[in-house]
Amino acid sequence: MTGFEQLVRGFSVALSWKGLLYCFIGCLWGTVVGVLPGLGPLAGMTLLLPLTFGLDPTIGIIMLTGIFYGAMYGGSTTSILVRIPGEAASVVTCIDGYEMARQGRAGPALMISAVGSFIGGTVSVLGLMFIAPPLAKLMIAIGPSVEVVLMLLALFVISIVSAGSRIKTATMVVLGLLLGTIGLDNLTGAPRFTFGSPELSGGLSFAALAIGLFGLSEILLNLEKTETIKAIQPKLRDLIPRWNDVRDSAPAIGRGSVIGFIFGIIPGVSHVVSTFVSYAVEKRLSKHPEQFGKGAIAGVAGPETANNAVTGTAMIPLLALGIPSIPATALLLSALTIHGVQPGPLLLTDRPDVFWGLVASMYIGNVILLTLNLPLVGIFVNLLRIPYQWLVVAILVISIIGVYSVNSSVIDIWIMVVSGGVGYLLRKLGYEMAPLLLALVLGDRLESSFRLALTMSGGNYATFLDSASVVVLGSALGLLLLIQGLAWMFGYRKSITDEAERA
């Protein structure tokens, strides 16, 4: 069956009433969690994970992925209207988006942001469609030693692209890998660090850790804040941008698509970094850089396009290699595994319905989000009028039920609560949680592949430097160095500190 035929088959799944319904639910919930500060795509996906248990895997993954990219759309709304980023990737949008809103131009900012998000999202799905299948074929041809090299490379990159302290990030990576060894050893079945508890035999629950480290710690941190929310309500008739807006934002959207697409490959914080790079690029290329920070529409169009262009690209390493690059795709990996689907090179041959159904649904989801976000912007903003403390209660109840329902184990609630407390303390001390989660997900496979490669080579460590590995490592490293060089050239690291402070 050709790729086109498979895509058509994918559309038949995505356009079924179930596919459309759950894609819509995912996009709607994703927008809501994107709008609400303190709830990101990861928490949003974990909360609805139990809902997918009774569903066909393809439909379940369509819904969870909808939450992922829906949150990227939703995050811009609060950035523009309230100056509070609903999602980490929307921090940059606060700068010029909110300035535009203050000048009575919230409508065009929202419209351009939505159109940019749509274009960025669609471009990235095209990339996913064309790059993932050949990459998966390439991966089938190479062995576990290359897998080890790739995973080590991913973890190394996570450590170096982090905005915070590198040694702290590296420590979190090691801690994540170490926590990943808890449970039965994959190759010998020997229990490790389980202390006789059968609940720990399967390892620490990823959902519990993810909710605790990301969701719960974020809630606890937010409870310390009491800043005032000033929401600006735009009117629907004000949404149409002027010709000048279109002229200024069109090239920014084009560049944002490319930047987001390229940065989506980088593991770690790619969606956040891409927005800062896009902003820096737009500011540098603008004929009026002095307008940035005072309501320049290119400062909204570029970053918003970039953070949505990351979503499709971030799915490439997950679906083609089975290696998640950001925490949200790590949760998707976990969800797919729960459904008995193993992401990786064999996914396209073993379960093409899942891959092509997902690709098709992402096209549909982007259209749903474009049509959903603009007319309902007033409703989404009104969500912010719900007292945060009431939301906290609701989020905690749903989180506890969600975490328990994965394994029906109270141990998982303990893991969630304790990791939430630890995450809160560590985040206050400047440690990042994303590297820990990614390492936790990769750890098991890294160790298995490492030991398998050594067994196959008779204990020869040179197997990690064979020709295929060197080619993969060399090209990946070259690409990453190029991207990193470009990022440094445009001063994204400086931008992160400067612009985040301003936002």
């Binding site: 420590t171 170490l178 190759l187 660090f193 409870l223 929310i229 945060y388 209660v393 109840v397 204990g459």
Partner: protein, 178 residues
Amino acid sequence: MADPASVTDRTGAPQDAVAPEPAPRPLLPGVIGSRSAGLLAAATLVLIGGFFAWQAALLDLGQIGLPGPGFFPLALAVLLVVFAAVIAIEGWLSSSKDEPLEFGHVQVLISFAALLVVPFLFELVGAYITLGLMSAVLLVFIARVSVLLAIPCSAIGMAACWYLFGELLGVRLPMGPF
């Protein structure tokens, strides 16, 4: 034209109705400096690494060419100890200002304490009763809602949870003695 409209504070109270409340006082303000806290965290990581190294050493380490189940965790635990030690030394030698870090925020402590009770009661008295109690406590102490309002709100919330999760989604939660 867009018009500035609703103004609410983080606690949700409309600003035009109620003046913004002052931030709740932390219980133990500035009880620990950022440098000391950093050193404490690094020391804890060293201890965690040491514990894992000790436990991993009890497992079969295998050989360097054919590692056993204890090899990988031992190597990682040693690496954790080394990295945490580097962080501790960096923190010790750092010339940055030792700013106080607030860890004793009232709302954070109440929320965390309420969460810690949940796993103890979850199977013992049932999921819905436990979560209902937690909700009521949080509504009273965090959202500053009166007890008379918090109890029916929690009960309605739990009924909604039972219908959504138990009936519609088929999630089986412990019912306790009932």
